[in-house]
């Protein structure tokens, strides 16, 4: 058996008396497309925050390609190939799209400590950033500031920043949230086109679209894994209908 891309073992997290993650275990193979579903408050984003390091679990282990990263900071996990997008968009509003993606690229390079040369003079980074912007169809807006973008375009930029880093494991937190139907189709095609070198774990509410993208599905409810397995198997499961699909 090859090493798992992401392995979560017996993860627990409580905010005071509220147990938001209860004994969650996940095993995601390299290149897998995993969808995490569950009703509001099921603990999906909290689970993501623990995987990315924004939150520390009370107990349990998180491994990236076999390496225990439970005690590492978010930036250290980023250097080990983990990348994520946020549910609430956190882009740099006053800056251009090009600057946003270039900054994303800089994060993994030693040049980020460099104190005399402006970021815009790193031609190869800018070229790379523009290529990524092109891949999400935003190249024509490269020199516009983020605050001028429509919501759907911000979502795509969010994705571009994560993809630019060529992550080994990519966490997508509701990439389709708040999008119109046509934008959904665009973003869906984008996610579908992500290279198999990247393992994708995605939280999404829009089942119609997201199920097409997923190979495996994990259903969470009240912080517990209810069903976990191949997509069709999970959809067909009695408990999935009960919890999520409303019978």
């Amino acid at each position: 058996m090859s090493t798992l891309a992401l392995e979560v073992t017996a993860l627990n997290k409580a905010f005071g008396g509220l147990k938001v993650t209860q004994g969650v275990s996940l095993s995601v193979r390299p290149g897998e497309r995993r969808l995490i579903i569950g009703p509001n408050g099921a603990g999906k984003t909290t689970l993501f925050n623990q995987i990315s390091g924004d939150l520390r679990p009370n107990s349990g282990r998180i491994r990236l390609f076999g390496e225990d990263v439970t005690a590492l900071s978010p930036y250290q996990r980023a250097h080990r190939g983990l990348s994520r997008t946020y549910q609430i968009i956190t882009l740099f509003g006053g800056d251009t799209l090009e600057h946003n993606v270039t900054l994303g690229l800089l994060g993994l390079l030693p040049s980020r400590w460099q104190m005399w040369r402006p970021l815009s003079t790193y031609r190869h980074l800018v070229t790379e950033a523009r290529r990524t912007l092109d891949s999400v169809g935003l190249l024509h807006l490269a020199h516009h500031s983020v605050s001028e973008l429509a919501y759907g375009e911000k979502r795509r930029l969010e994705l571009a920043m994560a993809l630019a880093q060529k992550p080994r494991v990519l966490l997508l937190d509701e990439p389709l949230a708040g999008l119109s139907n046509s934008e959904r189709a665009t973003v869906k095609a984008l996610v579908a086109s992500i290279s198999k070198d990247t393992t994708v774990v995605m939280i999404e509410h829009d089942m119609d679209t997201a199920l097409d993208l997923a190979e495996t599905v994990t259903l969470l409810n009240y912080g517990r894994v209810i069903v976990d397995g191949e997509r069709d198997q999970v959809i067909a499961d009695e408990r999935t209908r009960e919890v999520y699909l409303g019978g």
Binding site: A78, L91, G93, G104, L119
Partner: protein
């Protein structure tokens, strides 16, 4: 607009010592020192989002170290300057470790508390610092044998220092590191997810700001040839912060403009109005109401509006 302002500054700066009296030349030297100090604070407040109310610590400690080294311990000015700056940077490195455990209001309170400790020490350790009497009878250095005793000589010296400081800090905030500093100010969580270490970025900036605060302190003590605990006081920190905010925090020229305003009010208006603090308050109120982002961004906005109108 930017070039007009620069040309205007260059013209005034080059002509001033030849046309103005000693009072104004000295005032200008003080402005340069205050500008360096405000610019260094702006690295924290404007570019790092770390509002500090203890920046006088670096000015005061560098000034005290230089004064003590040259009078009490008999060092020459060169060695004393080196020790002062190294000591101030080391202190900034240590203070950064403490203050950066918090952000926002917590950070502000810790910087305030640390500077109050130093202020108290300067008063109480009178065996070393001479307490409330301060340390008097200091001399100015004579770099390369050029005496800085005359107002004009000191003017050129501090102008040169201010230009170097401005250029160095501008390069710093414009660099790749500067971009990540602004990123950490706006979205620390996102920056961490992208692979940046927010704490380290803040700490390095904190130390660098301490370094330039120390440079301002050296110039301060050279200019005044005297040092007193008030230079370490919260008032001293708050005046600089007021200058940064009034001029426009997070802009390159704003803090220098703000520091000039504060100093002009303090030195010039106090001759006519006894309660100059009240006048400063009114001016500040006016700025906050009319140009909430500061004088420099406010004027830029005004200029771009006037520019567009004729067409």
């Amino acid at each position: 607009m930017k070039w007009i302002a620069l040309a205007l500054f260059a013209a005034v700066a080059l002509l001033l010592p030849f046309v103005a009296g000693d009072f104004y030349v000295n005032l200008a030297s003080q402005i340069f020192i205050a500008a360096i100090f405000a610019l260094s604070l702006n690295l924290l407040v404007g570019f790092g989002g770390m509002t500090s109310l203890g920046h006088a610590s670096y000015l005061g400690v560098a000034a005290y170290l230089s004064a003590l080294m040259t009078t009490r311990y008999g060092f020459g000015h060169g060695a004393a300057a080196l020790i002062s700056i190294l000591g101030t940077v080391a202190m900034a490195a240590f203070f950064g470790l403490i203050a950066l455990r918090a952000t926002g209001l917590g950070f502000l309170m810790i910087t305030l508390a640390l500077s109050q400790v130093l202020w108290g020490l300067a008063y109480r350790m009178s065996g070393i610092t001479n307490g409330d009497n301060g340390i008097a009878g200091l001399t100015r250095p004579a770099p390369f044998g050029i005496s800085l005793e005359s107002p004009a000589a000191f003017y050129w010296f501090s102008l040169l220092a201010a230009i170097i400081a401005f250029v160095m800090m501008t390069i710093f905030v414009s660099s790749a590191f500067g971009s990540s500093l602004k990123g950490v100010r706006d979205q620390p969580r996102r920056m961490a997810a992208l692979g940046f270490n927010p704490w380290m970025i803040r700490w390095i900036t904190f130390v660098y700001a301490g370094f330039w605060g120390g440079i301002a302190g050296l110039l301060y003590v050279y200019y005044n040839k005297y040092i007193h605990p008030t230079s370490l006081s919260t008032t001293s920190s708050a005046e600089a912060l007021l200058g940064v905010i009034a001029g426009g925090s997070g802009t390159l020229a704003g803090p220098a403009v703000g520091a000039t305003l504060v100093l002009l009010l303090k030195n010039y208006a106090s001759a006519y109005v006894e309660r100059w603090n009240m006048l400063l308050g009114l001016v500040f109120l006016f700025i906050v109401l009319v140009m909430p982002t500061g004088i420099v961004p406010g004027l830029q906005k005004l200029a771009s509006r006037l520019w567009r109108r004729p067409s």
